[in-house]
Subunit: 157 residues, 3 copies
Amino acid sequence: MSDKFTLILFSGDYDKAMAAFTLANGAAGNHMDVTIFFTFWGVSLLRSRNQPRPNFLENLFKSMMPSGTRELGLSKMNFGGLGPKLMRKLITQKKGQTLDDLLAMAKERKIRFVACEASLKLLGIEPSELIDYEHLEVAGVDCFLNNAIESKVALFI
Amino acid sequence: MSDKFTLILFSGDYDKAMAAFTLANGAAGNHMDVTIFFTFWGVSLLRSRNQPRPNFLENLFKSMMPSGTRELGLSKMNFGGLGPKLMRKLITQKKGQTLDDLLAMAKERKIRFVACEASLKLLGIEPSELIDYEHLEVAGVDCFLNNAIESKVALFI
Amino acid sequence: MSDKFTLILFSGDYDKAMAAFTLANGAAGNHMDVTIFFTFWGVSLLRSRNQPRPNFLENLFKSMMPSGTRELGLSKMNFGGLGPKLMRKLITQKKGQTLDDLLAMAKERKIRFVACEASLKLLGIEPSELIDYEHLEVAGVDCFLNNAIESKVALFI
């Protein structure tokens, strides 16, 4: 059985997500069994649609939360949202991989995605609002713990 | 002997503390031997009283540092301090657990708390200013390392 | 063979770097085999010179990125850059170790530094711009993964 590599992606920052997917893709490329748990702001990476909710507070957070890779900010030098655009431009100039490229590669490598059930509930995000990906599931903290315990490496990002 | 689960909580953010306690409580619920090391801004969670200090710089940082769960900010969308209030309101609406609930559960589950000695010294916080909890101790980095080495999972939050 | 301890330092914050080096030095002091991977903003700690680049975006990020320990900000209470100065002053008053002291100790203890190849390329930093240290090398994500897999403890900071 191949070694397990588990990430918990709490952050919704473009740069931290890049780091997470770079590590995850590298591990998968080395034939490790990789799982990424998306929790709290990290779930924004998995959002593809935005269904308005009856709850005002949910809508406040949801409307402020990024949806998909294009709306994420940088943890530093965000330049009021301009940072990620510049970063993407810089990456393209360098013939590097943007977060979209890294996400696409993660799917090619069949990396397992798990969206944190409690975070979805808290932020009022329906599973139907998440990206379409056959290896995406919704689960709770026990699912993360069971995976982490069996993993050679488990990181919180 | 049950598996060890160790967290180092560096952050003083409400949302990151929620993630830390959710993981810790889940691990304790699964009969793991859980320890949380509170270091740097993370020690604010353990503060219950604020004794003014003779040192100006200490008082500057101490007076700016949150004291207890009610004063923590969010790592994102803090809305100038309003964020955590909204988050608590949203959690309550969802019948979820606020950070206070999570902290209370961590105590019920007898999770071991360790406050970083160097952080307390640096920020001028006396052990007498920390919350009353029989499983709270003050120790240094070696204590963390010894625990982490024996742990199945160790995360920096 | 001694136990391995691996850190990935993604953050370029003064306080997080302090936490990383405190853990790394403690582990090295306990005869562990310690490696720190500096990635993304973390590479700023390794910069000693700044060679202007032909690329405008590179220069934008590079000129905004701190260079060396003296220019790092705090993740909290940065007070517009004043925070780290106050923190250093406070540390000195307390006869504690500043980040410079911690970095010097890490070198004395021959902790292995690895600068992330992709981060250097992305940010347009030449290996020649990094600090002079015989145990500093430039490598990619596989190097981190191989180390992390063999480590007793691996943390993302």
